[in-house]
């Protein structure tokens, strides 16, 4: 029984020479291939061109981002400097006013003392 099966399998899987039609088809397909080659080249060239395009777009985007970041950093620095300058202006005016106030107080107290000392004046 098993020998039968084995012989059947061997018969089924035996090497068979290809038919003439198949051979023709294969030869035809191989000879047609060069016809596709120029198309592949064009495709490759187009791909390279597209890659170059993407690269330049990427470079332009990078440049834009760098310029934007530089602008933003400069703005941030300017803002920090401006706020510091503002703080210093307020501080300077506060100190100036404090000293003017002190002078005023001294003058006022002296004039009050003079008035008290000379009620007839």
């Amino acid at each position: 029984m098993s020998q039968d099966l084995e012989s059947q399998l061997r018969t089924a899987l035996r090497p068979i020479a290809p038919s003439a039609a198949l051979e023709k088809k294969l030869i035809a397909s191989v000879t047609e291939k060069p016809a596709f080659a120029p198309q592949t080249g064009r495709f490759l060239r187009r791909g390279a061109r597209s890659r170059a395009g993407w690269l330049s777009i990427g470079a332009a985007a990078c440049l834009l981002i760098a310029v934007g970041m530089q602008h933003r950093l400069r703005e941030r620095d300017e803002r920090a400097n401006g706020l510091e300058a503002r703080r210093q202006v307020v501080e300077a005016l506060r100190m100036t006013s404090q000293k003017l106030d002190l002078a005023y107080e001294i003058v006022k107290s002296q004039s009050t003392a003079l008035d008290d000392g000379n009620p007839g004046a």
Partner: protein
């Protein structure tokens, strides 16, 4: 021949102007004080304030002062037309930690022509002295200097530029500036 004479005369005038310009610049009153290096004093001080604002920094600060805020608006009005604000202030832990010699270099500059003492105050009670000097050019105050010495603090303020004293008056309530009766307090230099 005549052309040559005119050219020579022009050259002489140009040369004369070139020689006179620096001299004229030197002779023009300069409201900017040369503040001494107070590094040694700053080391002894518990608090040191050094403010140096030139015209570019003042205009930058002006852009960041909010016109809707009363204090900022007042400050903005005051710094309009100013070319510089310079403040040196030192606070000490002990009385009389500084000497008058430290301020002398500034006082000498204020003795120069152009400056006049507006107010000179000495308080026996608090031992505080405040001197206010002003430089006027063409009826316009172009410089202000305040020297205030208290037992534990000494402050020098130098404001350079077109100072509107009225605007300083307007600071009242904003920075605690009272209405200063400058004419009444004026003393001869």
């Amino acid at each position: 021949m005549r052309h040559r004479g005119i050219n020579m005369r022009h050259a002489n005038i140009v040369m004369l102007l070139a020689l006179l310009t620096p001299a004229m610049a030197w002779a023009a009153p300069n409201p900017r004080l040369v503040l001494p290096d107070f590094t040694a004093l700053a080391h002894r001080a518990t608090q040191a304030v050094t403010i140096t604002l030139d015209s570019s920094l003042l205009s930058l600060a002006g852009r960041f002062l909010d016109g809707n805020d009363p204090q900022d608006a007042a400050a903005k009005e005051v710094i309009k037309g100013l070319q510089g604000i310079y403040v040196r202030s030192y606070t000490f832990e002990q009385d009389l930690a500084f000497s008058e010699a430290d301020i002398d270099a500034v006082r000498k500059q204020l003795a120069a022509p152009g400056w006049s003492r507006l107010v000179e105050t000495h308080s026996k009670k608090t031992h505080a002295n405040v001197d206010i000097y002003i430089m006027v050019d063409n009826k316009q105050a172009i410089g202000l200097a305040v020297i205030a010495s208290e037992p534990r603090q000494f402050t020098i303020v130098n404001i350079v530029g077109a100072i509107d004293l009225e605007k300083l008056h307007k600071l009242e309530g904003q920075f605690g500036v009272p209405k200063l009766d400058i004419d009444a307090a004026k003393t001869p230099h």
